[in-house]
């Protein structure tokens, strides 16, 4: 996950807006979106060394709040056996281990060996006793190496968007979850409704501030959808990618734009969960609709 500056610019994405044709783009690199699981595995292996630093930088540390919320929504309690999918460098796994304690168990799965290596070294460095209950596993979210009805809770942070075969992953989550237990899936929110929130913030800024900075950043403010889509692409092209360029990872973070455009809306995620067999599913928008968390009950 590389979270954008959601608290400063609470935008969300429709996935259908393009940069205005006449807008002079500073970047003319055409990036082919990664479609295969292998390509994404290579990508996440490559960004592993700087993943945590960029998450902190690009979200101004806000990703920690979102992850804490997601863990709370999972319903994980002391002594539970829980699963964190697409665990990356382990943020959610560490939070889960604090919830379940030394008497619980946290299974953390990811398909990137490099991310897991970072997670394992963080576990050793931190040294808290509750972290000893975490086990790292290299695996595939669409073919889980667990028995049926194994877990009291499942979390997935900024992973489902990157999975090839989301319906299969959802069915696997349903299979390994105990009846009555929850899955909590945090990711970027893809919604049209948050445009209203964004425009309200935009109007407030341009009227109250009236400075050149706002005029520079929101030149299409009079065009609702154009301004909205432009801002999203502008943020990725002019904030995220330049920061990633410092780490020689520009191409990898340009992938973010395509993955968000190709993701599902909250309603579509709820439908996906229901189709997989969950008895209920609810998608919550957080951080002004910038992020979203799906909670589904088996």
């Amino acid at each position: 996950m590389a979270a954008l500056l959601g608290t400063v610019f609470p935008v969300t994405f429709t996935g259908h807006n393009q940069l205005p044709a006449k807008f002079p783009s500073r970047r003319r690199i055409v990036v082919k979106s990664s479609t295969s699981s292998d390509e994404r595995q290579i990508l996440f292996n490559r960004i592993a060394p700087v993943y945590d630093n960029l998450n902190d930088l690009l979200s101004l540390g806000q990703h920690r709040i979102w992850k804490n919320m997601s863990v709370s929504w999972s319903g994980a309690r002391r002594g539970d056996k829980v699963l964190d999918l697409c665990c990356g460098s382990g943020d959610l796994a560490f939070l889960l281990s604090e919830k379940v304690g030394p008497s619980g168990k946290v299974m953390s799965l990811d398909f990137s060996s490099e991310q897991l290596a970072v997670a394992a070294s963080r576990q050793k460095l931190r040294g808290r006793s509750c972290y000893k209950c975490i086990e790292w596993i290299e695996g595939d979210a669409t073919d889980l190496p667990f028995d049926d009805c194994e877990f009291d809770a499942i979390t997935m942070g900024y992973g489902l968007r990157n999975v090839v075969g989301r319906d299969r992953a959802m069915r696997e989550m349903y299979r390994v979850l105990k009846p009555g237990s929850r899955v909590s899936i945090l990711d970027f929110n893809k919604s049209d409704q948050s445009v209203t929130t964004f425009m309200q913030v935009l109007v407030f800024l341009t009227r109250r501030c009236g400075c050149l900075i706002c005029e520079f950043m929101f030149p299409k403010a009079n065009n609702l959808l154009g301004g909205f889509g432009y801002c999203k692409d502008w943020m990725i092209d002019n904030v995220v990618v330049p920061v990633a360029t410092l780490y020689n990872l520009a191409k990898e973070y340009e992938y973010l734009k395509y993955s968000i455009n190709g993701y599902l809306t909250g309603e579509e995620l709820e439908a996906l969960a229901m189709e997989a067999g969950f008895s209920s599913a609810r998608h919550y928008e957080i951080s002004g609709g910038f992020m979203g968390n799906l909670v589904a009950v088996r």
């Binding site: 060996s113 897991l116 290299e138 695996g139």
Partner: protein, 79 residues
């Protein structure tokens, strides 16, 4: 004593926690796995595939499974 032996197994870098090996199943057949000390791997006898353990981390991505030969040794990749 149990905690000490678990620590020693972990720090060996190749073996895994016994409890962990009992929780894990084959990602393809969903049947139990057997720890093979000789090859430092997890073996699915049901489908004749082994999965490596690297630095104490079980690698259970289906495409990384290796088909076992007739003598039980790795013959080729599962995929």
């Amino acid at each position: 004593m149990v905690r000490l032996s678990r620590v020693m197994l972990k720090e060996a870098g190749h073996a895994i926690d016994k409890t962990l090996s009992e929780i894990l199943v084959c990602p393809l057949s969903k049947q139990p796995l057997r720890v093979c000390e000789k090859t430092k791997s997890l073996v699915s006898d049901t489908i004749g595939v082994s999965f490596p353990i690297k630095d104490g981390i079980p690698c259970l991505v289906p495409k990384d499974g290796k088909i076992l030969g007739e003598d039980g040794d790795d013959a080729s990749k599962a995929s």
